[in-house]
């Protein structure tokens, strides 16, 4: 009887392989377990607030009337932050990757990364103590000249502690995230595509429109979504800057509130059903973030055929 000599294995390398694949599998599972655990905790703790009688919830009208103004407030603050930060971030990223001389580009990139390292409470203090005062004359001007627009309706807040100020502070905070990611994506544009555009007689800006931005589009969407995640969840800066209140259309009056700041400001003194209400608010924020990320994925995969990955 012959034995197949190929079946005798040396074994030594295989053990390492198994350990490694086991470790990566465990790491992958751990993420899912943590995510599932958080979701489960939020749901279980939120149920009492969702089923409680309306009179027991803060405001006395039930959970939904309580939550929707701060959902809208959260979305407004995040939208302001992205509207301001996205064009600036993409501009800075393009400048660093394609326009700036090499020395300036690396130091500028370093400064942008440094912005991300500043703690949010510092941004909050800066927004509350400095920016809001500096910006309030501008709000007065807006109220006087653009007041016919509901979003700039007067009278403007005298302290400047408005949702618009909070949005501006948030935009400074998400700027480095979007810039860094976009810059990395833009730097990865294949030389081949850039040269193809240039050889056709494209100017530098046309080359960027033709080769760099289409190539980086999925990356830009991801970067903006990460920024949005931070803007939605940011607590400290908003809690310090915003003088909160009821939902108002005007961005330059005090009022509005975000979910994260609402939780942070009320949680320490909450008890009983109030705790459940705040956790339910957290669940809503979790769902919003999840939804936003799924929409982002969908946007990215929609044009997969043209992504250059094939």
């Amino acid at each position: 009887m012959t034995t197949n000599s190929l079946t005798t294995s040396q074994g030594a390398g295989r053990a390492g392989d198994k350990v490694f694949s086991g470790a990566t599998l465990a790491a992958g599972c751990l993420i899912l377990v943590v995510l599932f655990g958080v979701a489960l905790f939020l749901v279980v703790q939120a149920i009492p607030a969702l089923v409680a009688s309306p009179a027991d919830i803060q405001g006395g009208q039930g959970f939904f009337p309580y939550i929707w103004p701060i959902v809208v407030g959260t979305l407004i603050a995040a939208a302001i932050a992205l509207v301001i930060a996205t064009p600036i971030a993409i501009g800075v990223a393009l400048f660093i990757s394609h326009y700036a001389p090499r020395k300036l580009a690396s130091s500028l990139g370093y400064v942008v990364d440094l912005l991300a390292a500043i703690p949010s409470v510092v941004y909050g203090a800066w927004g509350a103590a400095f920016l809001s005062q500096q910006i309030s004359p501008a709000y007065n001007w807006l109220a006087a000249n653009m007041g016919w627009l509901p979003i700039f309706q007067g009278p403007a807040s005298a302290t400047g502690k408005t949702i618009l100020t909070a949005g501006i502070v948030l935009s400074v905070m998400v700027l480095p995230i979007i810039t860094s990611l976009s810059r990395e994506i833009f730097l990865q544009t294949p030389k081949l595509h850039e040269e193809a555009a240039l050889a056709l007689g494209a100017t530098r800006w046309e080359m960027i429109k033709m080769a760099v931005i289409p190539f980086g589009r999925p990356g830009i969407v991801s970067a903006v979504m990460l920024g949005l995640g931070r803007a939605l969840g940011e607590t400290m800066a908003v809690a310090l800057v915003l003088s909160s209140g009821a939902l108002t259309a005007s961005l330059i009056q005090s009022g509005n509130q975000t979910i994260a700041a609402e939780i942070a400001l009320n949680f320490p003194e909450a008890s009983g059903i109030k705790v459940n209400t705040l956790i339910a608010a957290g669940l809503v924020l979790f769902v919003i973030t999840l939804g936003v990320n799924m929409i982002a994925r969908w946007i990215i995969t929609r044009h997969k055929e043209f992504s250059g990955a094939n």
């Binding site: 081949l192 193809a196 050889a199 007689g201 046309e206 289409p214 589009r217 055929e305």
Partner: protein, 259 residues
């Protein structure tokens, strides 16, 4: 609508390093000129100076003159963007824009510089360019599909269609077949033969049979050693270069004794 190229005493530098030295060459309109030579001899670098694409590389610069029908490409106030609309280029690896459809790839150069084109004219131009690149029959039913879905040879012909859509005077090709299989190579070579009826074609190739098959004239570049500048050794009719070269180095190279 094709122009001749005359190069006078051209030196190419990367920073302080002299990469190509003292090239003088006269390229006739409506002809195919092949550049051959060992790797690193500067033939691709030199090719890029014919439409100022070398400027993409940091530190690259030239001394001397390149005349396109008498107009100096490096004259004062000449915009490289204008130069490149006159002198098109096809690269070593096919590089259609992956985010664009086949149709948009062909029109990419035409839509530059804010030029507007009606849909009818665009359709006609797409068909004319793709027919000019011998690709129309293969892609006419899938013009809206991404260009990156084509085979390598088809992609390269798409790049040629894109280059001729802007109606340049000269087409430069930097080893256009080196990433292609023999059948695709044959298709591109046939195309080069047709292109010379309308365009001045300059092609860099490592394949001496290819140079012999497609070109009217051949230029042999060589390098004395590592760190030395590349030089134009001999420029003559292709038959002369391959059968009766005047330089010993050329004869050694084309007969396969080195390189």
């Amino acid at each position: 609508m094709s122009k001749r190229i005359d190069v006078k005493d051209l030196n190419v530098y990367y920073g302080n390093f002299l990469a190509v030295e003292g090239v003088n060459i006269n390229i006739e309109a409506k002809s195919v000129t092949a550049f051959i030579g060992p790797s690193g001899c500067g033939k691709s670098t030199f090719l890029r100076t014919l439409n100022r694409m070398h400027e993409v590389l940091p530190g690259a610069r030239v001394e001397g003159e390149v005349l396109l029908d008498g107009d100096n490409l490096y004259g004062h106030g000449v915009d490289p963007v204008t130069v490149r609309t006159q002198v098109g280029m096809v690269f070593q690896r096919p590089n259609p824009f992956p985010t664009m459809s086949i149709r948009d790839n062909v029109l990419a150069g035409v839509k530059l510089n804010n030029k507007k084109i009606t849909k009818g004219a665009a359709d006609a131009l797409v068909e004319k360019s793709l027919r000019g690149a011998n690709l129309w029959n293969e892609v006419k039913d899938r013009l809206e599909k991404p260009g990156s879905g084509l085979s390598g040879g088809q992609q390269q012909r798409l790049c040629i269609a894109r280059a001729i859509a802007v109606e340049p005077q000269v087409i430069l090709m930097d080893e256009p077949c080196s990433a292609l299989d023999p059948i695709s190579t044959l298709a591109v070579e046939d195309l080069i033969n047709e292109l010379k009826d309308e365009y001045t074609v300059v092609i860099v190739t490592h394949n001496m049979q290819q140079a012999a098959r497609v070109s009217d004239k051949t230029a042999f570049f060589n390098i004395a050693g590592t760190g030395k500048p590349g030089k134009l050794i001999e420029f003559a009719d292709t038959t002369t270069i391959f059968n009766n070269p005047s330089q010993k180095a050329t004869e050694d190279y084309v007969s396969g004794r080195f390189g």
